[in-house]
């Protein structure tokens, strides 16, 4: 079973929910797909057993064969190539590694080389019970603008026999869509404020287009107004859990401590959340 924890708006508590859920769920896997700003490791404190580079392909021009015809630059939809006089410039930060330039080159003057854009770290984290959590995250290099290829690599590690939890990046564009694709269920974490609701509606729109069933968790549920509840009722989206603001928990969070370790009631709450998600998926 593959579950995405997403939100639209940042800072609503995606990582808090995803890590706590992983901590109380038997045979869970936690995969951090927020590769621009991965934070799950701060709470799960995994032992990393394997680290590998994530690379993408970029074109390499053989100047001996190149006739500077410019077809590569014309074919590139991302403006990652420019032919100026007798020089071909490759702007690797714009390249998506699609291979169109290599395909079109009539002189076979383009081959490919790889560029490191981030890394993948895999390991185990300790769960609340005796279990271990399978942990993995992708980390995008600073200056790398393209996170979907790293997210894809993280998702390749999904183990379908586990309860796989994907911690999604904020927003509603390519990185978030890349994370949600192929998931069985999406839990949206929101807060009951105008910002939370506005971004939630956009995010639910993505799940609906992808035809992924979804539910809502309202975090800091006592901190705004009742518009999120009304929205869920109107749209018939189930609210699976509500967590009121608690300064002690926020303080624990600030130190990188998981809520379920401190609070028996939250531990039970997250166990119930797991059961509710499973029930929703099996519906």
């Amino acid at each position: 079973m593959i579950i995405a924890i997403a939100s639209g708006k940042g800072g609503t508590g995606k990582t808090t929910i995803a890590t706590n859920l992983a901590l109380v769920t038997p045979a869970s896997q936690y995969l951090d797909c927020d590769v621009e700003e991965p934070n799950g490791h701060l709470f799960l404190k995994p032992k990393i057993s394997d680290k590998r580079d994530v690379t993408m392909t970029i074109p390499k021009i053989d100047e001996e064969l190149c006739t500077y015809c410019g077809q590569c630059a014309a074919a590139c939809e991302f403006n990652a190539l420019a032919v100026i006089g007798k020089k071909v410039m490759v702007f690797s930060e714009l390249c998506h590694g699609c291979g169109a330039c290599m395909f079109i080159c009539p002189e076979k003057a383009i081959s490919e080389t790889t560029k490191i854009i981030g890394c993948l770290e895999v390991g185990k984290a300790k769960a609340v019970a005796t279990d271990e959590i399978d942990f993995a995250h992708g980390v995008s290099n600073i200056g790398n603008p393209l996170s979907p290829p790293i997210i894809k690599k993280v998702k390749k590690l999904v183990n379908n026999d586990c309860f796989a939890i994907l911690d999604a990046p904020p927003g509603t564009s390519c990185p978030m869509v890349q994370t949600l694709m192929g998931c069985d269920y999406c839990l949206f974490v929101t807060e009951p404020t105008p910002f939370g609701l506005n971004d939630l509606e956009l995010a639910v729109g993505v799940a609906r287009q992808l035809e992924i069933p979804c539910g809502i968790l309202i975090n800091r549920s006592d901190s705004g107004d009742d518009q999120v509840q009304r929205y869920c009722q109107r749209e018939a989206i189930p609210i699976l859990m509500e967590i009121p603001f608690d300064r002690d928990l926020a303080f624990a969070y600030s130190k990188g401590e998981a809520a379920v370790i401190h609070s028996q009631s939250l531990r039970e709450g997250f166990q119930k959340l797991h059961q509710r998600i499973v029930a929703e998926v099996e519906k």
Binding site: E36, C98, F103, I142, P169, S173, D225
Partner: protein
């Protein structure tokens, strides 16, 4: 004309709260909401639309199934697993997986695939009580958010230059990827809004790394600083060590959410110490910008 972008790395640290307050305090500014896939500034500044236009972010493939002979070349070459196949309906393009690179259109021997302009969203110029604002709405699940950020910023700059405004304030997106890069390259100053949590600090260091990568001067402010005073001290130490000016420490106060529900910035709604700190922060940022 000067340009300021407010970013954070981690989402939800208070970028838009700070931007909305600065927008109200700044006398001579144009605003741009560069968080195009989860824009929120309009919820506080309640804009009235002056004009709007489609955002054509690029081109995307369109498959003519009548011309398709099911040779499968497109599927074989596509590196994004974006070509689906079923016995019933033949080949089709999965627009969510598609990167719009155009290789399938180049390769199709039947010319059954053509690249057509795609509308990825809509952008607006609006009037607000704090001045003119350029903002956008990226289509649901659409690509090209970096390009849309660039467009929103360019339009903001054009208005500022044409109408003689001295400043453009950009509300930035979270993360360190393509939309953030598009929101900060070439600006005069960046303000990083962080919070005293391990996540907030971790992400601040990464986004500060991005600022250094592009050689952009940055200031820092700590939101909800009293949530964890030890971590706030660590942020302050980080700033000293990296020669970053810490322009303000905003206390944790639920009144900030009340202001948001009332659709007012924290300097328009009585937020006590929060209002005061944000005002003082603006004075420092204004000085730093040499306005």
């Amino acid at each position: 004309m000067k340009e300021l972008t407010i970013i954070s790395g981690k989402g939800g640290t208070g970028k838009t709260t700070v931007t909305a307050a600065f927008a109200v305090l700044a006398k001579n500014t144009i605003l741009a909401d560069c968080d195009v896939d989860a824009a929120d500034l309009h919820l506080i500044l309640t804009p009235t639309e002056i004009s709007s236009a489609d955002f054509i972010g690029g081109r995307g493939p369109q498959l003519d199934s009548e011309k398709c002979t099911r040779c499968g070349e497109c599927q074989r070459l596509c590196r994004f697993d974006a070509i689906d196949f079923s016995e019933e309906s033949g080949y089709s393009i999965n627009e969510f997986a598609c990167d719009c690179c155009g290789l399938c259109a180049l390769a199709c021997p039947e010319e059954a695939i053509t690249m057509v302009d795609t509308i990825n969203g809509r952008w607006f110029i609006s009037a607000t009580r704090a001045g003119k604002m350029v903002h956008a709405r990226l289509g649901i699940g659409e690509d090209n958010s970096g390009k849309l950020v660039t467009l929103v910023r360019q339009q903001g700059k054009l208005i500022a230059q044409k109408e003689g405004f001295g400043l453009l304030i950009n509300d930035g997106p979270p993360g360190i990827g393509c939309p953030v890069t598009a929101a900060i390259t070439g600006v005069d100053l960046v303000l990083i809004v962080t919070e005293p949590t391990l996540s907030g600090m971790h992400d601040m260091e990464r986004v500060h790394g991005l600022c250094r990568h592009f050689d952009i001067p940055a200031l820092v402010c700590v939101n909800r600083f009293d949530l964890n005073l030890i971590n706030s001290q660590k942020i302050s130490d980080y700033c000293t060590e990296h020669n970053l000016t810490l322009v303000g420490e905003i206390p944790l106060d639920p009144v900030v959410n009340k202001a948001q529900v009332a659709r007012l910035s924290v300097v328009e709604y009585e937020c006590g110490l929060v209002s005061q700190v944000v005002r003082e922060m603006w004075d420092k940022v204004e000085k730093e910008l040499n306005l």
